[in-house]
Subunit: 196 residues, 2 copies
């Protein structure tokens, strides 16, 4: 899925180490992703991990880039359908990604995210993935004067709030999927110009 | 502010220990709130903390109850103003609480919250505070068939998403306050019946 061309041996080793790091992340959370833990998981000497990723921050940055790639795939709805339908499907893909990979989701969007560092390539990648949402939201007939970036941030806020409260187990409504739909419905309605 | 009547000596000790626990929480996060750390902060023997709060979970539950009291005060907008204005002011109070006390906010609404345990009194208190939002949202002229509880959950999702992405430093718009307003604006518009 990730790389159509044949990878070099060195790339294969890096990918295998990153797979091991992702296993540690998914199982034990970002705090547990250390050079030592990843080396143990991969069955290599710590130096092998250190040589490629330097330290915990390097590992988390590489994992965050991969998580953004997965998120981009999850919200890719293709060219078919009307603007509202496409946005809705992208939102549902976003929720599926968060629920399937809570540790990866938390890594990129919770406090301590590598994407909070303006100098990080993770931040650049995060902006690219956000641009997908901006394009989807910008295809709506937005209220006069509403910037698509502001509208997309509002959509994101609603989605992020819904899935994080669901993941935390503190929703006040019994049906999390229905609550997510109510949230994106209300936002899509509220961002659009009212048709006369 | 908290208790108008005069407190007993025992209540004063409990309050002082809880103040110490809150200091540890605000400074070092929920993971650091141990019986030992709170005793050290309060300058008492660990047994004094243990006798009142049993363990870390007891401390976190007491802190979460206090945080919900503070949140309830922050979103209390009194009886004046129209429904939209009152809801807006409550939302702004919610954001102020989150930004002023991120560790307390995270304690009650992030993964690991005591409010995720159905048997906890914290969950009961959380439901009471949510009921304030339900009443505020229920005062709007909601779309036909939209339950005020579902509408309030949607409002909460938007607010929670906005403040947690702001706290994490990953917003894609430069003005967090404006982004928050766009989000609650869109939700309020989207939840309401369109006036003919």
């Amino acid at each position: 899925m990730r790389t159509p061309r044949r990878r070099t041996a060195s790339e294969q080793v890096s990918a295998a180490l990153l797979d091991a790091a992702e296993t540690v992340l998914d199982r034990d959370g970002a705090a547990a992703v250390t050079v030592r833990a990843v080396a143990r998981e991969a069955g290599v000497a710590p130096m092998g991990v250190y040589n490629r990723f330097s330290n915990k921050d390097g590992l988390l940055a590489a994992l965050a880039l991969r998580a953004f790639d997965d998120l981009a795939a999850a919200i890719d709805v293709g060219p078919d359908g009307g603007p509202v339908d496409r946005l809705r499907r992208a939102c549902r893909g976003y929720r599926r990604f968060a629920l399937s990979h809570p540790a990866r989701y938390t890594l990129i969007f919770a406090a301590g995210s590598p994407a909070a560092d303006p100098a990080s390539p993770v931040t650049v990648r995060g902006r690219e993935v956000f641009a997908v949402l901006v394009a989807l939201v910008g295809a709506l007939t937005l209220r006069r004067g509403l910037d698509p970036v502001d509208a997309a941030q509002a959509m994101w806020n609603g989605q992020h709030g819904a899935v994080t409260l669901e993941l935390a187990g503190v929703l006040q409504t019994p049906d999390a999927a229905a609550s997510f739909e109510h949230t994106i419905d209300a936002l899509i309605r509220g961002l659009q110009a009212v048709r006369p």
